[in-house]
Symmetry: C2
DNA sequence: ATGGATGATTGACCCAGATCAAGGTTGCCC
DNA sequence: GGGCAACCTTGATCTGGGTCAATCATCCAT
């Protein structure tokens, strides 16, 4: 989800490295925010916010990956989104988060006090416009994921996940054929609505089929991209409307 | 999803019955839109827009229910949302829809030409603000649904669905104990990521358990709300943060 | 009323993926 | 390096929900 931005999108003009905020920032606007800005880091595995917690801060991910998830009473957990650099935690107009936010890797957040930030969103049309666009993009991504969760087979889920990782890695700068799974098997399972055993088995199958090769448990290369895309169950265009 | 608004929320001040647009409308702003406004109706079952279609209009539902869904090549279909009165079809900043939009019941749409509408969204902060809020609400609802699709059992899915219908019906005005399923068994199946047989079986089970009673295939009353809520698998508060 | 279409229910059976269980890897700390 | 803890893989078995198929109900149109 939300594989929309990453650090590269940061604006170099000011210390807030987010295009969402900086796109058309001027010194005056920034000054307001600067006053309440702070950075925090979380270690991998730590919970950043619990579902229902009141948010004192509005933050955005600077470095690392966080997850949004919900756990049912009996422990079943479903991840509902990944937060990558430049994604926000918190939403204007709401004091609480509806999901648990957890650091998947070590995470650095850049945070602002909620009130002044919300005021800024109110006052700056381009900012609220930007938040709206981000929300709509996330909404599309979430719906796309609903199709995966509701209708895809285990193999298709795994293929879609791998393909997503690969697509995200393939940026103009480096076409490194080596990719890294940012999640543990358990996290992948919770992301795809599967168990770790099924995740493990399906990865082994794709390995046996010669589609991917693992150098260690996290790093892999794609041997047959066409076969991978074919296994996703999506249309040829990969689910993206041209 | 998006059980957020209904006709009652309409603003009586102008013919565009949507609070999103009308909340702080003045005659001047409205005049712009009025010029390009038109109404269309679709019969139950008709497709309103196909995935990928270029949207000439930006529309909102006035009457009836429409669905957003995606169908995989081999026919597996997943519904990703329901559009109720006052929900929008189309999104500012995008020319196409990512999902098929289908009339579930007979549907009346109120539509505007896309260009002028988008300009209006750009120009009126309160409107873009409103669209942002709607997008964020839908996003929460979509994520909630992801938990259902990824982790809930058939019984829990059915219970959650029924409970949602009941919650939506329970408005201040009338606490009628009789409710109506707005969807066919097949549509319910596609909404919940199940087959029609499983939907039918689970409904029969809940009937047998004395939780609900059907008068015909669409109308029912709840005999044991507590048991129903218990069967959803959600926390006691019904998934809504207080 | 009759025939036919559409939609819903119910039963019998099957299989993908969950569950249970036993090792295997990797990495870290003493 | 040895021991321990996470994490991952693989096998055996079970089961929830899918698949296939038959029957029933409801609603029209003739």
């Amino acid at each position: 989800m939300t594989f929309v931005f990453n650090e590269r999108d940061g604006c170099g003009k000011c210390p807030i490295r987010h295009r969402a905020i900086c796109a058309r920032c001027d010194d005056e606007e920034m000054e307001l925010l600067e006053k309440t800005k702070s950075y925090v880091t979380f270690e991998a595995g730590q919970t950043i916010v619990w579902r229902g917690d009141t948010l004192k801060y509005f933050s955005s991910v600077v470095l690392g990956i966080a997850s949004l998830s919900r756990t049912l009473e009996d422990g079943r957990t479903q991840m509902v989104g990944l937060l990558l650099p430049s994604d926000f935690i918190g939403r204007p107009g709401r004091e609480t988060v509806d999901f648990d936010v957890t650091a998947v890797t070590d995470v650095t957040l850049c945070r602002f006090e909620r009130k002044p930030f919300e005021r800024l969103v109110e006052d700056l049309p381009h900012l609220s416009h930007r938040v709206m666009e981000m929300a709509l993009d996330e909404l599309s991504a979430a719906r796309e994921w609903m199709v995966l969760l509701g209708r895809k087979t285990a193999r298709e889920k795994i293929a879609t996940f791998i393909e997503m990782i690969v697509r995200r890695d393939t940026v103009p700068t480096h076409d490194a054929p080596r990719h890294v799974l940012p999640l543990t098997r358990e996290e992948i399972a919770n992301f795809l609505g599967l168990t770790i055993e099924t995740v493990s088995r399906q990865l082994s199958l794709m390995k046996k089929d010669g589609i991917i090769t693992f150098s260690d448990r996290r790093s892999f290369v794609i041997n047959d991209l066409a076969a991978l895309q074919d296994a996703t169950g999506d249309d040829a265009d990969g689910g993206v409307i041209i």
